[in-house]
């Protein structure tokens, strides 16, 4: 059992241009959603310059989606998200999942899962193609008769062994075929690959976006992806949705703060926009701080 933790998240995104932008339309999926294991104490998103319109709705997947419209000319747009979230998620134990084989878990999902979720998270999606290479990659980690817990542990280990964490080699549009060619990427690539492998086996799998707590304990290895937005996957099992972090080869406990989920990155991109500008040069600055304290 990981203890409940209270987090204060400060997430700044800044676009800078060498010429004025006349207007800027943004869609932000930045406000964390409440879940069975996560309570959102406060969540604010502010813009500078002052937006003409901020409007929020719950999207298809139940995430908080913000429409931000700025029509003040400026050379810089800053989006600041500040959240206080309490997370109390018991870390799943692989052995508990070994009561089922992968094939049994798949059969269970076909019978018991929400029929819409079964399709939404079971089939390929724009950034999660299920190609022969993906199937082969999954096959090296587990098979239908592998015990479910071992299969998940094996997949995490295989991804960790086969892929190198490296920033800058992939983009928000990298496909799984390209990734398997490159053999390196960042957390969203790791998550897309994990989702592809699990879906190829018939297990419905979500892509989850969020944050990861920095663990500054003496002697401990600093987790990759800390102090940035993070991404992992959530797979449907007979025990419910189980979150796995393929970037850090671990099952997810209370160190991960969920912002949103979807089929892949394209459903839950934290901030995307259309900017009206003649600028030739632009710079993007993102800073994330996650402070935590143990609660009772």
């Amino acid at each position: 059992m990981s203890p409940a933790r209270r987090y204060r998240i400060h997430h700044v995104t800044r676009y800078s241009y060498d010429q004025q932008m006349e207007a800027c339309y943004n869609r932000a999926v930045l406000r964390p959603r409440a879940t069975a294991h996560q309570q959102v104490v406060s969540a604010t998103v502010t813009l500078s310059p002052e937006p003409e319109l901020v409007s929020e709705h719950l999207d298809y997947f139940g995430n908080h989606s913000l429409y931000l419209e700025t029509r003040t000319a400026a050379t810089e747009l800053e989006v600041v998200a500040e959240h206080v979230v309490v997370v109390d998620r018991p870390r799943p134990v692989a052995a508990d999942l070994n009561s089922w084989t992968v094939a049994q878990a798949v059969a269970w999902a076909r019978e018991q899962a929400d029929p819409l979720e079964l399709v939404d998270f079971g089939l390929p999606s724009p950034l999660v193609e299920i190609t022969g290479e993906v199937r082969r990659f999954a096959g090296t980690a587990f098979g239908p008769e592998t015990a479910l817990g071992d299969a998940l542990t094996g997949l995490l280990a295989t991804i960790g062994a086969e892929l190198r964490y490296a920033q800058g080699s992939t983009s928000v549009k990298t496909t799984l075929s390209q990734l398997l060619e490159l053999r390196q990427g960042v957390c969203q690539d790791f998550a897309h690959l994990a989702a592809g492998c699990l879906r190829s086996a018939g297990l419905p799998t979500r892509y989850v976006s969020g944050y990861l707590e920095t663990i500054p304990a003496p002697g401990a290895v600093k987790l990759r992806g800390a102090d940035a937005t993070h991404a992992w996957v959530s797979v449907l099992t007979p025990q419910g949705w189980v979150d796995l972090d393929p970037t850090n080869d671990q099952f997810v406990g209370s160190a991960h703060i969920v912002t949103a989920w979807g089929r892949d990155f394209s459903d839950v991109s934290p901030l995307r926009g259309v900017v009206l500008t003649e600028a030739a040069e632009s710079a993007l600055h993102v800073a994330v701080d996650v402070e935590s304290e143990v609660t009772d």
Partner: protein, 827 residues
């Protein structure tokens, strides 16, 4: 159901009936006669005979060219719309039954659309397998929850129908995201009605006009708020899009303007039309931009034709989009097998309109059937436009294996359909009547209590007898479809247009700029043609007398042609060849043909504003300029024809356009161009003569300039009556620059320009133009010797005005860039 044709000799129909490619069901003939509803047509066909039919066919092509009706199979290639002169008459009772079936289908699809983007009950309850929708690339998750508007969401529908061997109609596919073709149907009707005028007059047909009135009313009624005067625009991807003719003509039929991305702005969660410095709120958008390009914020960020925030505006309910973003999901063959069950469920009715039997490979049992019978099925990807449709029997066994493997790896993306042996309809060819496969696209619009349909719709036949299907872009021909006037359902269900208060038309910066360019190009073509005509005439008279006064005058005029057009004579080129080239070579910038081509291209951008009569003038211009004057009737005749057409164009514009700001921009372009041209003409043709104005060559040149400036008669009348200077050299400046009463003078142009600018509502620039006019008047008092300097100053003043008009009125929106930020990328 067949009328006896035995008492007449019917060689054409007899031959057609025996044609080996005629289908089991033919729209004209039966095995032993003709269809009852086609009796009059059959008689007309025999009466015309093979020669008469070919005349009708030629008349149809001529009319298509004259009306400028184009079809494009890509942005780059513009092809003429192909029309067969013979209509397809349908019996009234058959159409009435089809209307009932189509109305049911539209009501059904509308309910499906609303459910899929709100509660998805049909999927949850398995009435439609969830995979049929959720795996489809056109299911727009971003558009869920946006539908809460008034009335029906599926405001416009189009369905492609085909008739099977037993004569029953089947729905082949639905076009729901941006249904195209209704305006083509209207254009086709007009052409066929002219080509077969007698038959058309004697047939009491259901008119098409009423449908478009209903569309107008339906769109006005769709406005989200109770505004008295809803503003509706047709959102178009632009004049380069494949269906730009359909969009432009639809705009004129409906009375709503075309708006492109640059014309529209999202502000405060509303859509606005850029109107000069103001923004006009838009209540309803008739969308002709595909889902995937409609909103670059939610979809493809590289879309230049979409509007960022459009989906959000729909969600906020500030604008109604017809059809809403996400409608493409209905154009999905995998829905077909489930519609009967859906119909029972949501309407409590049996489905009237069947589809060819369809198997969706996403279902393992159906996939099995599909793969087993691959060889005889039509294999369709569930999403249109990404992959071609395949016909199992046309594939090699290797291709079939490949396809089967693909279906195996992505079964949800594929359907198999029972092939439909379509009916045939006769097409006029030089070898007699030929049977071609026939499909019918129907068009419906939502009214208060159901859907109303365009009587008949747009018929299409295949490009050759060999083709099994009818696809656009493969040389398919349009067919007019005739329905008896009594057949369509009564008009009592028409949604009445709200009475709307007349309001001034809005001209967006893009349209303003285009109109001014049209004004300039029409005037440029005309004044250049006039100058070349005079230069050619002078060359004819004096060209051979080197060193004479006449030759010097010719030289002065040629210098003006070169100076004004920028086209330089080539070495060894005769004067005549040079002038013919500047006239007819479309690749010579500044030449007449080049200006005309640009004029036509610009006119396509604002098809909704220009009179339809413009297109026959353009067609004539293009034909005239494409002939070689050195072989045909001669350059003088060619230029005379060109001038006649250009005068006809300015006449059409002057007589058809309301004097509002649209006219103001067109007029400003024309006046600016004529003033600039006249100033240049004087500078290039006369100035070198200034030091020796008494030489005979100066006299000749000045006379030629007066002729090029259409002012020689005025000069002669005034000289004869003693009210003007006696010599042309004295007259030329007076008449072409200063005389306010002369519609060719610079002073007159600048005053008219000032008035046009006032019409546009720009008093500041109008005052500046008036100030230029005053300067022109002031020049009149000065001596002749500083003429060169005056003209240079005037030239600059005119260029300055043109630039300021552009800056103030034609500003385009800033370039859009898509951005996407992840914390990971930034590090």
């Amino acid at each position: 159901m067949t009328a006896s044709a035995s008492e007449h000799v019917t060689p054409l129909l007899d031959a057609y009936r025996k044609h080996p490619d005629r289908a089991a069901f033919d729209e004209l003939v039966t095995p032993d006669g003709v269809r009852q509803q086609a009796a009059a047509l059959a008689e007309a066909v025999e009466a015309l005979g093979p020669a008469g039919l070919l005349v009708a066919r030629a008349e149809v092509s001529r009319q298509v060219a004259a009306d400028g009706i184009s079809a494009a199979d890509s942005a780059a290639r513009r092809l003429p719309w192909l029309v067969d002169p013979l209509p397809v008459p349908l019996p009234g009772a058959e159409w009435s039954a089809l209307e009932v079936a189509l109305d049911q289908r539209a009501r059904l699809l509308d309910l499906v659309l609303v459910d899929l983007y709100s509660e998805r009950r049909l999927l949850r309850r398995g009435i439609i397998p969830p995979g049929v929708v959720l795996s489809h690339p056109d299911f727009a998750r971003v558009a869920t929850g946006c539908f809460g508007g008034r009335g029906r969401q599926l405001r416009l529908t189009a369905t492609d129908l085909g008739r099977g061997p037993d004569g029953s109609w089947l729905a082949i596919s639905d076009r729901t995201q941006a249904p195209a073709g209704a305006a083509y149907a209207m254009a086709t009707r007009r052409i066929v009605a002219k080509a077969l005028a007698g038959l058309h007059r004697d047939s009491d047909l259901a008119r098409l006009r009423n449908y478009f009135l209903t569309v107008t009313g339906s769109l006005l009624a769709a406005a989200p708020s109770d505004t008295e005067t809803p503003r509706v625009v047709i959102h178009s991807p632009g004049a380069d899009s494949p269906y730009s003719f359909d969009q432009g003509f639809l705009a004129t039929l409906l009375g709503f303007p075309l708006a492109e991305a640059d014309d529209l702005v999202l502000s405060g969660g509303r859509v606005w039309l850029r109107a000069g410095d103001e923004l006009e709120p838009i209540d309803v958008i008739l969308r002709r931009v595909d889902d995937a390009l409609a909103d670059p914020l939610e979809y493809r960020s590289d879309s230049e034709v979409g509007l960022p925030g459009l989906v959000e505006a729909t969600r906020r309910g500030t604008v109604t989009v017809a059809n809403p973003v996400g409608s493409a999901i209905l154009d999905n063959p995998a829905l077909a097998p489930h519609l009967a069950a859906v119909c029972r469920e949501v309407l409590g009715e049996e489905l009237h309109l069947a589809a060819p039997q369809t198997w969706w490979a996403g279902d393992p049992t159906q996939a099995q059937h599909l793969l087993t019978h691959l060889q005889r099925l039509v294999i369709k990807p569930v999403a249109r436009g990404r992959e071609p449709v395949r016909y199992g029997w046309l594939l090699s066994s290797a291709e079939r294996d490949q396809l089967a493997a693909r279906i195996g790896s992505e079964p949800w993306a594929w359907c198999g359909q029972e092939p439909l042996e379509l009916s045939t309809a006769p097409v006029v060819t030089s070898a007699g009547l030929e049977p071609r496969r026939f499909v019918l696209r129907t068009f419906g619009v939502a009214t208060d209590d159901g859907y109303q349909f365009l009587p008949g719709g747009l018929g299409r036949v295949a490009g050759s007898t060999a083709e099994f299907t009818v696809s656009s872009g493969a040389g398919a021909l349009a067919k007019d479809v005739w329905i008896p006037a009594t057949a369509p359902r009564s008009a009592s269900v028409i949604a009445r247009p709200r009475l709307s208060v007349a309001r001034p038309s809005v001209v967006t910066p893009r349209v303003a700029g285009t109109l001014m360019t049209i004004g300039r190009l029409a005037e440029r073509a005309e004044s250049t043609a006039r100058l070349i005509k005079v230069a050619d005439d002078l060359t004819e008279d004096f060209g051979s007398h080197a060193g004479s006064a006449g030759a010097e005058a010719v030289h002065a005029l040629l210098r003006a042609v070169t100076g004004i057009t920028g086209a330089v004579p080539r070495p060894e080129e005769t004067n005549l060849a040079y002038l013919a080239r500047v006239t007819g070579d479309a690749n010579e910038p500044g030449g007449v043909h080049h200006s005309v081509r640009r004029l036509i291209a610009e006119a396509r951008e604002v098809r909704d504003i220009l009179s339809v009569d413009s297109w026959s003038v353009f067609n004539r211009l293009e034909r005239t300029l494409s002939t070689d004057p050195l072989r045909g009737a001669g350059l003088q005749q060619q230029l005379a024809d060109v001038l006649e057409s250009l005068l006809a164009f300015s006449g059409i514009m002057a007589q058809s356009m309301v004097r509002d700001s649209s006219w103001g921009f067109l007029e400003a372009g024309g006046r600016l161009e004529r003033a600039a041209h006249t100033v240049k003409l004087l500078r290039f043709a006369l100035l070198s003569q200034a030091e020796d104005r008494l030489r005979p060559s100066a006299e000749l040149a000045a006379e030629a300039v007066l002729r090029a400036g259409e002012s020689i008669i005025t000069h002669r009348r005034r000289a004869a009556s003693g009210t003007g200077p006696a010599t042309v050299t004295e007259s030329v400046r007076q008449l072409l620059i200063h005389d306010h009463a002369n519609p060719r003078s610079v002073a007159n142009q600048v005053v008219s320009l000032s008035e046009a600018l006032r019409l546009i509502g720009d008093d500041r620039l109008a005052d500046q133009a008036a100030a230029v006019a005053a300067e022109v008047d002031a020049f009149a008092a000065t001596g002749i010797d500083d003429g060169a300097e005056q003209l240079a100053v005037l030239s600059q003043a005119l260029a300055g005005l043109a630039e300021r008009i552009a800056v103030r009125h034609f500003s385009r929106q800033t370039t859009r860039r898509g951005v996407e930020a992840t914390g990971l990328e930034a590090r």
